[in-house]
Symmetry: C2
Subunit: 222 residues, 2 copies
DNA sequence: TCACATTTTTAGGCTAGGCTAAAATATGTC
DNA sequence: GACATATTTTAGCCTAGCCTAAAAATGTGA
């Protein structure tokens, strides 16, 4: 198996599985990886044979501890590369994801750790996602909740942005929604409708899907 | 075709072809790329169909102008990455070649040009090989000759080291042979035998093959 | 509990980039 | 100019990673 395919499958499984490590369907993987469902079934069998996944036919897949380690190391490389591209090479934070999606498979452990050192051992990437120390595990969403699930009226601090398209990120930044910034949910339309959010002085309508990509600190003692 | 295969084949052809752009045999490519000869014939046909090479069966291959451009851009990325790994990330100059061999296919034009700017637009890599400006052509061995062809007794300045193994590079550095350093050919054994070279105070015997990897300025006005 | 819609896997095929063994071509020697 | 030898190409095969269409398993609701 190519490193690229292997790492992308494990990473996608990890991200879809969540902190509670619930099983992931092959169709969810297919959608996330932009490949057909039978392609996923084929790859999943190989990854299971390698001991990186557990596959229960018709049920779904789960990462083994070994698979989880590969996934976490790949995500760590991705985030360090992103931070490096922004801090050292001056690329803009909304466009580094695509570059990192390739480079995460090409940088060696030595190179990525040197990057991390040169950056001063940062603990998060340009989108607010955590960077663990070498070989450490990753706790993704400690004390965070999506803006779509956040209480109304409370002042909240933005922790991370999960949206990957540069356009979406620039749009959110234009609204004042950036990691470390403040937002308030003013009103929530019923039936999973758009949210009215306050950021700075202004009030904006925000699609519910986009609100899921915005993670805020659950308790904001601001 | 994958970018990786395409770029490595064109790069190898460029390097084996030399400044006079003489035709390259498929067996020479096979040896350089560590693949079997029939694999090269197959790839060469595809690259010729893409307009990147001209293939005359049983004779050899030559790069087209388009193929040469791809080769030069790939070599440029390789050398900028090497210099960046040494200068910014602190890797040692004898071990960056292997890293660059992978990264040269993964860094985008934007990233490599930012690296070049951050480095202060260097005109050579850690081994003394030239780095052209963006989109410029490459003149590899202007006024250089291999130590194996250099005149005896004359003080020479080392321009570049073509050897790729870290062990060989460290050995040469241990002898005092580094880009920018000085050497003198004291004696040359007949039948392409070893050379006696002077570097600093000391005198060393050097294999003729290794002497081919050392390029010196043809006229040293030192 | 059984029919039906949905999800997943299997079956079979394709391209890329390798391989070995056999056939074709080129070259050096007499 | 003919032949032996070396080089190169062709033929046929393999694995990886993708695809579509068909078959099988799942689970829903009457
Ligand atoms: Mn990736
Ligand atoms: Mn990120
Ligand atoms: Mn390469
Ligand atoms: Mn170099």
């Amino acid at each position: 198996m190519s490193q690229r395919a292997l790492q992308d499958y494990l990473k996608a499984t990890y991200k879809l599985s969540g902190d509670d490590e619930r099983p992931v369907t092959t169709s969810a993987l297919a959608e996330r990886l932009n490949v057909a469902q039978p392609s996923v079934t084929g790859m999943v069998k190989k990854l299971a044979a390698e001991g990186l996944m557990q596959h229960i036919p018709y049920q779904g897949v789960r990462l083994t501890p070994a698979g989880r380690r590969v996934a976490v190391e790949t995500i760590r490389r991705h985030r360090i590369v992103e931070q490096f591209l922004v801090q050292v090479l001056g690329l803009s934070w909304d466009e580094v994801d695509a570059e990192a999606e390739v480079l995460e498979h090409a940088v060696s452990e030595r190179v990525v750790n040197r990057m991390w050192e040169v950056l001063g051992r940062p603990d998060s990437d340009p989108h607010g996602s955590p960077i663990p120390p070498p070989h450490a595990d990753l706790q993704e969403s400690r004390d965070l909740c999506a803006l779509s699930d956040a209480p109304t009226g409370v002042l909240l601090r933005v922790a991370r942005l999960h949206e990957r398209s540069p356009e979406a990120l620039r749009y959110l930044a234009g609204l004042g929604v950036v990691p470390g910034g403040e937002v308030r949910v003013v009103e929530r339309a019923p039936f999973n409708g758009p949210l009215m959010i306050g950021a700075g002085q202004a009030l904006h309508a925000l699609d519910a899907g986009m609100a899921q990509a915005i993670w805020v600190h659950a308790e904001f003692a601001g």
